[in-house]
Symmetry: C2
Subunit: 195 residues, 2 copies
Amino acid sequence: MSGTKAKRQPRADARRNMHALLDAAMEVFATSGVDAPIREIAEKAEVGVGTLYRHFPQRSDLIVAVFRKEVDACAAAASIMAEQYEPGEALERWLDRFIEFVAAKRGLSAALHSGDPAYDPLPAYLMEHLAPAASRLLQAAATAGVVRSDVEAPDLLMAVAHLCSPDGKGGITEASRRMVSLLIDGIRYDARGQP
Amino acid sequence: MSGTKAKRQPRADARRNMHALLDAAMEVFATSGVDAPIREIAEKAEVGVGTLYRHFPQRSDLIVAVFRKEVDACAAAASIMAEQYEPGEALERWLDRFIEFVAAKRGLSAALHSGDPAYDPLPAYLMEHLAPAASRLLQAAATAGVVRSDVEAPDLLMAVAHLCSPDGKGGITEASRRMVSLLIDGIRYDARGQP
DNA sequence: TTAAATACGGAACGTCATTCCGTTTATCAA
DNA sequence: TTGATAAACGGAATGACGTTCCGTATTTAA
């Protein structure tokens, strides 16, 4: 007998529903914010609420799962950008992607500040997964000589996040985009008259 | 006919209930956070929920009213401290009072980030009312030579607020108090070896 | 093919915020 | 003091929501 038991694999319909729920939740959260009724999500996934609760016993479990999935997608985008574009443009395009991610978190910052311990690990998760991705892009761009080499990935992510999620609820503002543009210009060599 | 009509004064029982509701809400919010059921507040005020809604049509109206009342009380405390203590101690004691205020805002920061426009004016209200109070104390202390004169009141308030309300939910932590202590030491002349 | 394990659906429950309306109370002029 | 009237009160009713429960349906493995 092994301490870690090899349980039967999850049933096919269970996996299917699980993915349907995640997709539906992602869409509903993006449209109506994280406060959207859980029934709406079950409906969009064409699943009963009982099934939803089987997979995500608490509402926060669903929110956490969607958050992680989106963080992972954002991290994966970094590799894709790195492959398809030269270092400078890859970094820029990925930051745009990251801005989109942050801006889509309408209402989530409220959840993060709600005091519910379920959300405590999320900021760390974000940093742990996105900082390495950002760091690779930064280093590649620095090596190519298009950005400064003294910019730390966590600082950059925090700065962009703060510039983009300021007060209101609605999506990304023009002001946010302009501020991030300034930030990016500050990172470039050629904007500072340096070699 | 006058444009501004002189309506009859509010009825006596109405005023009484209004105050009872504010007091009850203050107590309940402090005990159970701003998410406490509205019925609990009505009960503690010995009033029906209908009466509560007559005075505060939306839940947020009650929260806003309590917030403002507490800001006002904190601002008023500044004058009292200034009268009763010498400048250095007055500033220190008032900051303690301010810390208490910030720490008691359990759950309110979530409301502030909820995107509900009802709460948008609150941060400005806080600054407008507390910064002048803090400024007077700072200037008095600076004139008396016990603190530096280059500290701006809004900066001080923001710094203390950030040090005290960081992540958890529970009341003020020992760590917060220590950090604020350090901040205050940094404001003193005698801690820097300056005249 | 069949029995057990697993998963499903959605009605039912308890909790809230909010509304509605019949009843009570304070106010003021007579 | 009294009576009419506007103002305010109380709490049952409503509707939305999160969560639980359990009888039924489906998948899996032998």
